[in-house]
């Protein structure tokens, strides 16, 4: 057994290239569209709170509820509910059987307790598992979409038709549980690319779904994955045929809308031999004082020489400053590098949710395959995040790279949990992990749990970790140049997260940087 274990402690880490002026500003995510001009100095002492506690005064800016008549299941979970959902969606018998199998298995499972998070017990019978916004017509074009819903999109800033014209990003929006509008389909279908809602895929492409669905995340994989399989309402399906390079970023917008609905979406991306796709997922949720459960499953499959790049910008409602409400985000994301020379890359910017439980992983099965995980996780106020990745080296000459940047403020807790596993047969496996934590204030926590299992002595596994605090001297230096504290924190944090932000598709990088700044508004005074 051979592994190299380096723990390195560097100096204070700060933030970076916020307003790179060459970036084109594209407004895709309302989630991130906020007046930066409000960043000015309201710092200092508010109500006798320390500047750091003022972090807590930062309000969620996307909490609005759309009034669309919804078509809901009764509260609670049972075989009948599973049947109701399946029937609502007009699913074939095999799909219902698949769901029921998952449900029956779920009944026998226990909720995992090992993560570094605390929350009151979830009452699974108190949740509405299906809520579909009522559509009067089946939209063939965006113009046919319910005007109320379109206003929601406008508030979200993802006016689909505007995007169509301006940005060349194909968006498949999911409001609550049903996929609403799929744009760009025609252009994509000419290349043989399938990009549609999961419900539609089950109807239109049953062979592909039967073959690949739950082939990466089995329905019995874990508690939340089993729950998702039983009740998932919709999601996206994306299929890139052999040798095709998808010419645009594909994007799905998830948003939890109805009260007491859990959102259980399910995404499957299949990249055939020699193909390439870059996919972006963004999320927001309206403000509620109750917690909402969100348990998604994402599966990625890359065949020989294929590459999948999956980026997430997650901005679910984090709860209020006292820690009431907010989304419980229990997500299973896994990709398999099935073929030789294949590559899967996860990039995530996680700023929302009261609780985040999420470990996007890669199974490196094909020889020479590459897995990457780039993560920025911000926690503020009472947020808790336990997130990281799992890299499973099985094929020869497989490589993985992990870059995790955790930023904690307020009284939040931010944990990195990662596993690098090198199989007996994985000759010449290489892993490099870098886990950096940045603390804003002294009431928050940063924790790192790196697990390494090496079963082949040709492997080289490196791990570096640093923890730093935003220094008063850094803030003062910025102040002395005319930069107020809010802006200084934003500069420092973005510098800290730069390596990850650089992985985001260009169009989203600027917005994601703003989102970081907004999430931390008022955290340091």
């Amino acid at each position: 057994m051979c592994y190299l274990f380096i723990i390195q402690n560097r100096g204070i880490i700060k933030k970076g290239s916020v307003y790179t002026f060459l970036y084109k500003q594209v407004r895709i995510f309302v989630a991130m569209k906020t007046e930066t001009t409000q960043l000015h100095k309201t710092n200092g002492m508010k109500d006798g709170l320390s500047p750091i506690e003022n972090a807590v005064l930062n309000d969620y800016k996307y909490g609005f509820v759309t009034d669309i008549e919804s078509d809901s299941a009764p509260k609670g979970l049972s075989e009948d509910i599973v049947r109701f959902i399946s029937a609502k969606k007009n699913e074939p018998e095999w799909m219902l059987e698949w769901r029921l199998k998952a449900y029956r298995h779920w009944l026998k499972m226990e909720e995992p307790q090992w993560a570094n998070i605390k929350y009151p017990a979830i009452d699974y019978q108190d949740i509405i598992y299906y809520s579909a916004p009522k559509q009067k017509i089946n939209p063939e074009s965006l113009d046919q979409i319910d005007p109320e819903l379109r206003r929601t999109f406008e508030k979200l800033g993802i006016s689909l038709d505007e995007q169509k014209r301006l940005t060349g990003v194909a968006v498949d929006a999911v409001v609550d549980s049903v996929s609403i509008g799929t744009s760009f389909k025609k252009q994509l279908s000419e290349l043989g690319i399938i990009f549609c809602s999961m419900s539609e895929a089950i109807q239109e492409h049953p062979e592909l779904i039967k073959k690949h669905l739950s082939s990466v995340v089995p329905i019995t994989d874990n508690y939340f994955a089993a729950l998702n399989a039983a009740v998932f309402s919709d999601g996206s399906f994306c299929y890139i045929p052999r040798g095709v390079r998808c010419p645009m970023e594909l994007s799905t917008y998830f948003r939890i809308n109805a009260e007491n609905t859990g959102q259980f979406e399910r995404t499957l991306i299949v990249a055939e031999e020699g193909s390439y796709v870059s996919y972006l997922e963004g999320c927001t949720a309206p403000m509620r004082d109750e917690n909402q459960l969100h348990a998604a499953v994402v599966e990625l499959i890359a065949f020989d020489n294929a590459e999948i790049k999956y980026s997430t910008v997650q901005n679910w409602y984090p709860g209020d400053k006292q820690g009431n409400g907010g989304i419980y985000n229990f997500v299973t994301k896994r990709g398999i590098c099935q073929g030789i020379n294949s590559k899967i890359s996860w990039t995530q910017v996680e700023t929302g949710s009261a609780i985040t439980w999420k470990y996007p992983s890669v199974i490196l099965k094909g020889d020479n395959s590459i897995g990457e995980f780039y993560s920025v996780a911000v926690t503020n106020n009472h947020q808790q995040a336990d997130t990281g990745t799992k890299m499973q080296h099985i094929g020869k000459n497989t490589k993985s790279r992990i870059v995790s940047k955790g930023i904690s403020a307020g009284v939040s807790n931010n944990s990195y949990r990662g596993l690098v596993h090198v199989n007996k047969k994985a000759v010449n496996a290489r892993n490099f992990s870098q886990c950096d934590s940045l603390l804003l204030g002294d009431k928050c926590g940063a924790h790192t749990f790196p697990y390494i299992e090496v079963r082949n002595n040709t492997a080289v596994v490196e791990h570096e970790a640093t923890t730093s605090k935003i220094g008063e001297d850094q803030i003062f230096y910025c102040n002395q140049r005319g930069i107020d504290t809010e802006t200084a924190v934003a500069l420092i944090v973005n510098g800290f997260a730069k390596e990850v932000m650089n992985q985001l598709p260009m169009e989203f990088a600027v917005e994601a940087q703003k989102l970081l700044a907004i999430s931390l508004e008022g955290s340091v005074g």
Partner: protein, 255 residues
Amino acid sequence: MLTIKNLQAGIEGKRILNGINLDIKAGEVHAIMGPNGSGKSTLASVLAGRQDYEVTGGSVEFLGKDLLELSPEERACEGLFLAFQYPVEIPGLSTTNFIKTAVNEIRKYHGEKPLDAVGFLRLMKEKMALMNIDQSLLSRPLNEGFSGGEKKRNEIFQMAMLQPRLAILDETDSGLDIDAIRIVANGVNKIHSKENAVLVVTHYQRLLDYIVPDFVHVLYNGRIVKSGTKELALELEEKGYDFIKNEIDVTEQVG
């Protein structure tokens, strides 16, 4: 431009400045000299508004405003610039982005529109030529891995970019070899004009060969104990600080 009256300040209950009086007019160059620990950096920090220090008495007027009432960023926007003795590093933040943010924040304060990319690049090019600074340095993360000399040059470059009314240089010469000192001093001289003033804080006289002061003040134990013209610096150089110390300590004992 700057009028300091009987300024007293300290940190954590410890008195460091014991009544400073100083008057600086537009167009002047003042030098403050003094042994280590006499309070030079403290004075610079208090003027720039560092919050760790507590002002316990006295007043400071800057361009007609009560300086002590302003936040550090407001002081900067009003035209006060401090070239730090120990510039901080900000990993990941490109020096260019940092300076662009600073330039535009100051413009915003004065109700001006931000400079666009073209305007900013033009200004950068002009000042880079003036300061003899390399583009590659400016695209690196702020001060990260910079040599001592590079950090100091970066401070002076920022000063050129921000065009302050009063620049305080805190031991900008320390740790520099003679060539680097000459470059930095040249930079300062190029920007100096009738409209702005410079306060040079230094331990050694040699910087004053290049930045010639109109007035020299000696700081000792948190007080300006002697003021004069540039000849005073030469006298200090020749006799060392001990001669001042002895003079003062004797007077104090007698008093």
